[in-house]
């Protein structure tokens, strides 16, 4: 990789100040950024580690919300969210592999917004709120296409606040090589209705499958999905699966999530 200056600020303000420099970049768990840099596909002049920022890593349940610090690892979420929000804990416990889960963070994953990342599905399906050093961003506005988010320059994800669903389930069909989701669906039965978010499938990144949401809000059963098929246009087509196949898997994974919950 290209060389860079490494710094580890001890406060959020210090990190924000450092981030104002040209070509400075945040380093969370590094599980995506460092491989990208090894391929020389990223060239930051300064890497700002978030590791020493206080109160950045936590899982807190309060009433019907669960708030997770931006620097919280997947492993912590999988262990500490288990009682309050098992659907999310299960998702976190299946990201990457154990060593990756020990380093990768929720903030890093959401800031990157890989079209095959797991977390975006839970955030979008629950209508969670992404909290930054400047503002709060609703999930429906946060994800803006493959590797694109609502985050501005110099903005740092400090936490994510999830409304805890009545029931939720993440079903993942792994791409055979990377074992990232080829298609994965998060079904969340919320107070005001059912939301379904799909990751891995679309060229535009994570999205909501509104037809399925309507059907499941009307009747929360797998039968309600009968006859519904997601169209194939806009779906990723590659050596692992055609767009048509991915579209088909959206139906299967959604149905399986519902079956798990009913």
């Amino acid at each position: 990789m290209y060389d860079f200056e490494f710094m580890k600020p001890s406060s959020l303000d210090e990190a924000v100040a450092a981030l104002a420099e040209e070509d400075a970049q945040l380093l969370a768990g590094g599980q995506t950024l460092l491989p990208t840099m090894k391929q020389r596909l990223a060239m930051p002049s300064k890497l700002i580690s978030l590791k020493d920022i206080p109160d950045f890593s936590y899982v807190k349940a309060e009433g019907d919300t669960l708030t997770i610090g931006g620097g919280t690892t997947h492993r912590q979420v999988s262990e500490e969210a288990e009682s309050a929000f098992p659907g999310l804990a299960s998702l976190a416990g299946r990201i990457g592999d154990p060593a990756v889960r020990n380093r990768g963070t929720i903030g890093g994953s959401l800031a990157n917004n890989d079209p095959a990342a797991c977390y975006p599905a839970a955030v979008l399906a629950t209508g969670a709120t992404v909290i930054t050093n400047r503002r709060e961003i609703p999930a429906d506005e946060y994800f803006q296409g493959m590797f694109t988010t609502a985050l501005d320059e110099g903005e740092i994800i400090t936490a994510v606040r999830f409304p805890i669903p009545e029931a939720s389930r993440y079903e993942k069909f792994a791409q055979p090589a990377s074992r990232f989701p080829m298609v994965a669906c998060f079904v969340a039965k919320m107070n005001g209705g059912v939301r379904v978010a799909v990751t891995g499938a679309s060229e535009e990144g994570v999205f909501r499958w509104s037809e399925a949401e309507e059907a499941l809000t009307a009747t929360f059963s797998a039968d309600a999905l009968e006859g519904l098929a997601h169209p194939a246009n806009g779906m990723i087509s590659d050596i692992h699966g055609s767009g048509e196949y991915r579209a088909h898997l959206i139906g299967v994974m959604t149905k399986r999530a519902v079956l798990h919950l009913t």
Binding site: M1, Y2, D3, F4, E5, F6, K8, L27, G30, Q31, L34, P35, M37, K38, Q39, L47, S49, K51, R75, G96, D97, P98, A99, V100, N102, R103, S178, R179
Partner: protein
């Protein structure tokens, strides 16, 4: 260059590194501890797994400077105090859980992390846990057996006449 200091297998070790120096490079090149291996550049093969502050990490996907002040355990630190093979290492030998040996350090370190979390894992749990460790020689059969045996569970003995 920046100075980095970490406790590796119980000894304080320091060295001068660049920002871009990976933890695995610090171990292999600065400290000449070549037991930790590099088998890929996409953080998937797991030949480089070490423990940092008690947790398994891929040392090819962590900067040396991120481990400043940390407790690091590598394959070189897995033997008993008298130099004999530790329980997991011994089980890998007893059940032929390695062939070329290249993935082995990462396998042993991952197995150690698994058994710390889950002292009596099922066969399925072991296979799931090894998602991030690729072996091309063994077909994983004897690795799974070795880890089960290391956790004190009954396994079929090795082939005999």
């Amino acid at each position: 260059m920046t100075k980095v200091t970490m406790n590796v297998n119980g000894r304080s070790r320091s060295g001068e590194v660049e920002g871009r120096t990976l933890l695995v490079q610090f171990l292999r090149e600065t400290l000449s501890m070549t037991g930790t291996h590099v088998g890929c550049d996409t953080s998937q093969c797991g030949a480089c797994v070490v423990h940092v502050d008690g947790q398994a990490v891929k040392s090819c996907t962590m900067l040396a400077l991120e481990a400043d002040g940390a407790e690091v355990t590598t394959i070189e630190g897995m033997t008993n105090a008298d130099g004999s093979l530790g329980v997991i290492q011994q089980a890998f030998q007893d059940y032929h859980g390695l062939q070329c040996g290249f993935c082995t350090p990462g396998m042993v370190m991952s197995a150690k992390a698994l058994l710390a979390e889950n002292p009596k894992p099922s066969e399925e749990e072991i296979r799931e846990y090894l998602e991030g460790n690729i072996c091309r020689c063994t077909g994983y059969h004897n690795i799974v057996k070795a880890i089960m045996a290391a956790s004190g569970q009954q396994v079929e003995p090795v082939a005999a006449e």
